[in-house]
Amino acid sequence: MAKRQKVLVLYLKLPSLEGEVISWATFDGTGKKLHMTGDSDQPPYPTGLDALLDGWRLFQASQAIPEHPGQEFRTSYLKHEFFFEKLEEGDF
């Protein structure tokens, strides 16, 4: 039996896992499903906490970085990024 990684990336409304999901991406290392940009309009979970409750393991979260002086109002990438994984066993 081999192991493959599935990765779920959630962007939340808050820097807390209680925050609502505002953006998401899924990458399936088992090859069972090919995800792509624009493939779903509804998030897979309402909040980051709901992903934990469904067995996803958090392995990275974005840091809080103070805004650069003079650039306090500049907006850019989505801020509250959380990477989760699930490992799946099978014959791939």
């Binding site: 953006s23 792509m36 940009t37 624009g38 998030p43 109002f73």
Partner: protein, 306 residues
Amino acid sequence: MAKLLTTEQMAEFANSGCLFFDELIDEQTNKEFLDDIGHTEIDEVDSVQHYYRNIKATSSIPRIPAGTKLKDAYPKGSPLEKIFAHEVVDGAIKSLVGSNTIIDHQFLHITFPTKYFKQANQRQMSQQNHQDSTIDPRSTFDVQLFYFPTEVTKEMGGTRYHPGTHLRIVNEFGIAKYQNILGQKSIVCKPGTIGIFHSGLWHGAGVNFSENIRYMFKVRLQPTEKQELLWDPEKKYQPLPNRALYWTDESKEKTINDILMRSYPWQEADTNRLDKINVVKFWRLLTGHKKMDVDYWLTRIENELY
């Protein structure tokens, strides 16, 4: 005669970064455009390269050096010349980028259906989200005008876009990792529809699961003058007075300020407030009222006493 945008349409553009004009171009001009590019059924297409080569060889779409004036760009009587001469298209362009706008680039985007990818044994994927065309910290903005000569159904994918993202400064495909963004939209439209995007709006091409080819003709336009009250040459616009915040008066009618302050579901709780501040700053530039404010967002933090 050009039909300039209304202040409500300008506020919509300032807040969402886009405007749409459904079924604006008439059926005859759409047909002339499709005939001109040699539109055919997907079964007749052997390769993407050949299809483009044929269009470039036979259509009236000229090669336009970057920086060419729009008014000198297209052959007289050609479908594109007619489209840009339309009073609504002409008025929207003049309102946003002025009367002496120049062309950055143009392109006929063609999205092939599933059948083509199966025949070519290629993986059919959507285009990732991106912002054209490189990191752009200017206050000046360009617009991208889209023309859809055929109907675009939901099955055909359409151009995906994210309203309200235009003032977020990112580096092109640096946003490609966001596969899905809450509130994302796709342009599903009737033939002859025109869309206008602020050059900063996040977008990408959707997958075409239909049996028909999807076309979208795009032109990026740059201003050569300050984009201040171009839609209001008589300078009639006046900012509205302050209103009550949080403990609000719901009996008041909706105003331009409600359009400017609209939120989007993808915005973070904290950064959403910065997005509003940036819309107010953008509106100050567009109107020339350098101290105007909406809902006290800038007045509050400009009250520096030391």
